[in-house]
Symmetry: none
Subunit: 232 residues, 2 copies
């Protein structure tokens, strides 16, 4: 994911404009909603990364919007409101908002709070992806750590070899065509360097097929491509 997608829920055109201009200038993508109903729809359709929510909407109470959104997602919600009473803040925060700014607000502060939220998103997503380690016979790949082992002995792989091994391992059993592999490793632009692919397959095999008796991890499908087979 390259650019963050922000949903802006705000009925006042001038403030909405201020925010959109600011976000655009700081390399965010955004969608806008002018009332509570569309806010809910947009949130459901676009799955924004962060929601900026004004509480004073024409059609429904802002706190109700928070509750509705919280009924199905934990997407961070930053409230931007003209109400500065404690009770308003508390109600919104307890309903599920993550932060609360009062108008008039500083654009720089808003950006800082967005950065805080992003930081949390990335570090929460970085925690422990469920399938972070792949096992197949004596082969083990730790995707998170970015390295591969053969019986607890680390394999010294070059970047392309590693990518190749990951690609094969993520599709165990499936045959991957030459063009598919080439597209995935080198990116769509390249053409017809099957020669290179063969060389990499050779070195990769040499590194992980230790002996003639050991399992044959990578199989050649003549005229089609390659596949990694599940051994056990």
């Amino acid at each position: 994911m390259d650019k963050y997608l922000i949903e802006i829920v705000e009925d006042d055109a001038s403030i909405r404009n201020l925010i959109t201009v600011t976000l655009k200038a700081n390399d965010y993508r955004y969608v806008t909603a002018l009332n509570g109903q569309t806010a809910l729809m947009e949130a459901a359709c676009h799955n924004p990364d962060i929601i900026l929510l004004d509480l004073g909407l024409p059609d429904m109470d802002g706190v109700e919007v928070i509750r509705r959104i919280r009924s199905w997602t934990n997407t961070p919600i930053i409230v931007i409101s003209a109400r500065s009473e404690d009770t308003d803040k508390i109600e919104a925060l307890d309903a599920g908002a993550d932060d609360y700014l009062t108008k008039p607000f500083s654009v720089a502060e808003l950006l800082a709070r967005l950065r805080v939220t992003q930081r949390r998103l990335t570090q929460a997503g970085h925690e422990s992806p469920p399938d972070a380690v792949f096992r197949n016979g004596r082969l083990r790949i730790d995707y998170a750590a970015g390295c591969a082992y053969l019986d607890d002995e680390e394999l010294k792989l070059t970047p392309i070899e590693y990518k190749l091994l990951c690609l094969l391992s993520r599709n165990v059993g499936k045959v991957l065509t030459h063009t598919y592999i080439i597209q995935n490793i080198w990116g769509g632009s390249w053409e017809n360097n099957i020669a290179s692919l063969r060389v990499f397959m050779a070195t990769l095999r040499k590194k992980l097929e230790t002996g003639p008796d050991s399992p044959q991890y990578i199989q050649t499908q003549i005229g089609v491509g390659y596949r990694m087979i599940k051994v056990d």
Copy 2:
């Protein structure tokens, strides 16, 4: 553990008292610190769930306290400060604070923001924070004190070298991409100063790889990045 442990860092006795009384009444446990040094120590010893931090401390800058804590843990930090300038807020938030309240603050709002933070902790899984001191072979890093040792001999590191070492040590075994490292050290804005990174790696290595026979702490993954390996 059903009661949350809050660390209160505040030198003003009356405010500290207000907070402790409030927390006690709302079924929290707490520890207190009156200055930056003890704040870091307490954080390292007690592993609080949330830290409430006043920026105006007698012995060191509050933002520096945030940076030190962030060098080894993601424990939520809520700043409570008399400074209401945007630049102060932004500096603190970008240094790693999670929220920022300005004095005089509403006790009820503080409680609400604490609840928001708790909510995030529980849904994130409440993983146990890392140790305050990291050990790997002859290398030892005392995150709370902000210094590193090689066999009880202190390493003289520049700020960036230290950050780099912390980043690597917190991800032992994992390969860290160039861009990931650069983002974390210099902040998202910079680009393409891989040259600098290489220079820092060189100086850092020179300082902690004492001999050719000694363990190679920092390994380079050509074309990808670097990683610290676990030695024993």
